[in-house]
């Protein structure tokens, strides 16, 4: 379960990026986060994953009080979250396979399990044939799918997806949506940030609309 209570986030001195946001997302829910560019979608996801701190309010994720975490125990939060970043954040000097395996290496699994799980995750996103390619050799959609494989490989209870269909055509976007929906059916809570009306229509899920850092409808 994810809860935000009156969260205020300011970057510098301008108007706040998040202005008194309160939001509750149930366990196992699939939620679209939408709104115009600059509305605060990415900022919310960053706060949920402990990547940005916030000035006021409370954030609870899986019973963890996010504002109280420090460098030493931040990993407890992050291990229960799989993040798909707006800019993929793949490591250019590692292959697709190594990028996905990397997410498990940091949590100290044994090598056999890592190989097996990585293979499975790449199969799920239909990329086994490109496993030895480096990110620059992959198309945008393929990179996006590697990023998704990496986010899901540890089977986290929560997946935060920031514009996972950002630069992709309709067909691949639909595929990715279906993939996330399947993860959702298997029990994961999904928060899917997008400004694409088409995606919103394709998936029949709860929509949270943001504008200028405020929740307009939920």
């Amino acid at each position: 379960m994810i809860q935000l209570f009156n969260v205020i986030k300011k970057y510098g001195s301008g108007s706040p990026a998040l202005d008194d946001i309160s939001l509750r997302i149930e366990k196992g829910e699939f939620v679209f986060l939408t709104g115009p560019s600059g509305a605060g979608k990415t900022t919310i996801l960053k706060i949920l994953s402990g990547w940005e701190h916030f000035e006021e309010g409370q954030v609870l994720v899986q019973g963890i009080n996010v504002g109280k975490l420090n460098a030493g125990n931040m990993h407890t939060l992050r291990r229960s979250i799989g993040v798909i970043f707006q800019d993929y954040k793949l490591l250019a000097n590692k292959t697709a396979f190594e990028n996905v395996a990397f997410a498990q290496e940091v949590t100290n699994r044994n090598r056999k399990t890592i190989k097996f799980k990585t293979w499975e995750a790449l199969k799920n996103v239909g990329l086994t044939s490109k496993k030895d390619s480096f990110p620059p050799q992959l198309s945008g959609g393929e990179q996006q799918r590697v990023a998704i494989a990496r986010a899901m490989v540890n089977a986290p209870p929560i997946i935060l997806a920031d514009e996972p269909t950002g630069n992709l055509d309709q067909e691949i976007s639909l595929e990715i949506l279906k993939l996330l929906e399947e993860l959702n059916r298997n029990g994961a809570t999904i928060v899917f940030a997008t400004h694409s009306q088409d995606i919103l229509k394709l998936g029949n899920h709860r929509v949270v609309v943001l504008n200028r850092g405020k929740v307009i409808s939920s």
């Binding site: 420090n70 460098a71 030493g72 990993h75 992050r78 291990r79 954040k89 490591l91 940091v106 990496r150």
Partner: protein, 305 residues
């Protein structure tokens, strides 16, 4: 304990992977460290050789006590007692008037080929007093000389007074100068190495950021960098000291004979073994400290957002 070993194992696996993925940065760091250690090593070689040279020079200083021609047996006995009871005296050798004259005539004959015959002996008898090695050897010599000078039957003493004090000052100056240069050099070395390692860490910012984002513990992120820093320190120092040792043996084989002809009994020496170990050890330590500081600072920056 087990989990520490496990973390180290996983860390070393990650270190090897990191080194493989960033061979160039790794090699640049190793080269930089090798060059820096090389400079320090060269410096140490000069230091130890100069020190050895000064010590053997120092060894040759001795006290000569010239005796009055009419010195009595009792006065001689008194002097010999003084030599014996001084714990710093290593050995004494008596040179009689006749021996001195004999030596003088021999060396004179060698030089000019003329047999000198004055009909009388103008040289005094003397004692040659050698002193044991110790820190303040020269000081003891000059003190003892002052005391002996006023004893009855002593004509004069000689130990190259002005030469000795100049020599002593030079020794002190040399040591201080060498120590100061060495300290400065080590300090610069720490800066250079930590900067190199910091660069290699900054070139992997994305990776560190991502590791933390996908749930790595701070230790997990740090350990491979610390191991890598130590590995860089180790390879850099071994590389440069190994090279220097090879060059040293080559030069010694080539030039040992000509060196000996210049300065008798003086061979060049390499850095003594304990100092080699200290050099390698401090290089590893510097690698560790430098990468610790760099990762720590970088993680602080990430956490402050």
């Amino acid at each position: 304990m087990n989990s520490v070993i496990q973390a180290l194992l996983i860390g070393s696996r990650a270190t090897i992977a990191n080194v493989r993925a960033n061979v160039q940065t790794f090699l640049i760091s190793v080269m930089t460290i090798a060059i820096s250690i090389g400079i320090l090593g060269l410096f140490l070689i000069i230091f130890f050789n100069l020190n050895g040279f000064l010590a053997s020079w120092n060894q040759q200083v001795q006290l000569i006590v010239y005796l009055q021609d009419d010195i009595s047996r009792a006065q001689k006995g008194n002097l010999e007692d003084l030599f014996k009871t001084n714990s710093r005296v290593q050995s004494t050798e008596e040179v009689t008037k006749d021996q001195a004259w004999q030596e003088f005539r021999l060396s004179q004959a060698e030089k000019s080929g003329l047999e000198l015959d004055l009909g009388f002996n103008p040289l005094p008898g003397s004692y040659r007093v050698r002193f044991k090695m110790s820190d303040n050897r020269l000081l003891h010599i000059s003190k003892f000389a002052g005391k002996i000078q006023s004893e009855p039957g002593v004509e004069s003493v000689e130990y190259g007074k002005s030469w000795v004090s100049r020599f002593e000052k030079f020794m002190v100056f040399c040591r201080v100068f060498l120590m100061a240069t060495g300290a400065l050099l080590s300090f610069g070395l720490i800066l250079i190495i930590s900067n190199t390692i910091r660069l290699s860490i900054y070139s992997r910012q994305d990776e560190i950021e991502l590791m933390l984002l996908i749930g790595a513990t701070p230790q997990f992120v740090k350990i491979p960098f610390l191991l890598e820093g130590m590995l860089q320190g180790l390879s850099g120092s071994l590389l440069s000291l190994g090279l220097m040792e090879i060059i040293y043996y080559y030069l010694r084989n080539e030039f040992q004979t000509s060196i000996e002809s210049i300065a008798r009994g003086m061979g060049f020496q390499f850095i003594p073994e304990p100092f080699l170990l200290i050099l390698v050890g401090s290089s590893v330590l510097i690698g560790l400290v430098a990468s610790y500081i760099s990762t720590y600072q970088y993680m602080q920056v990430l956490n402050r957002r």
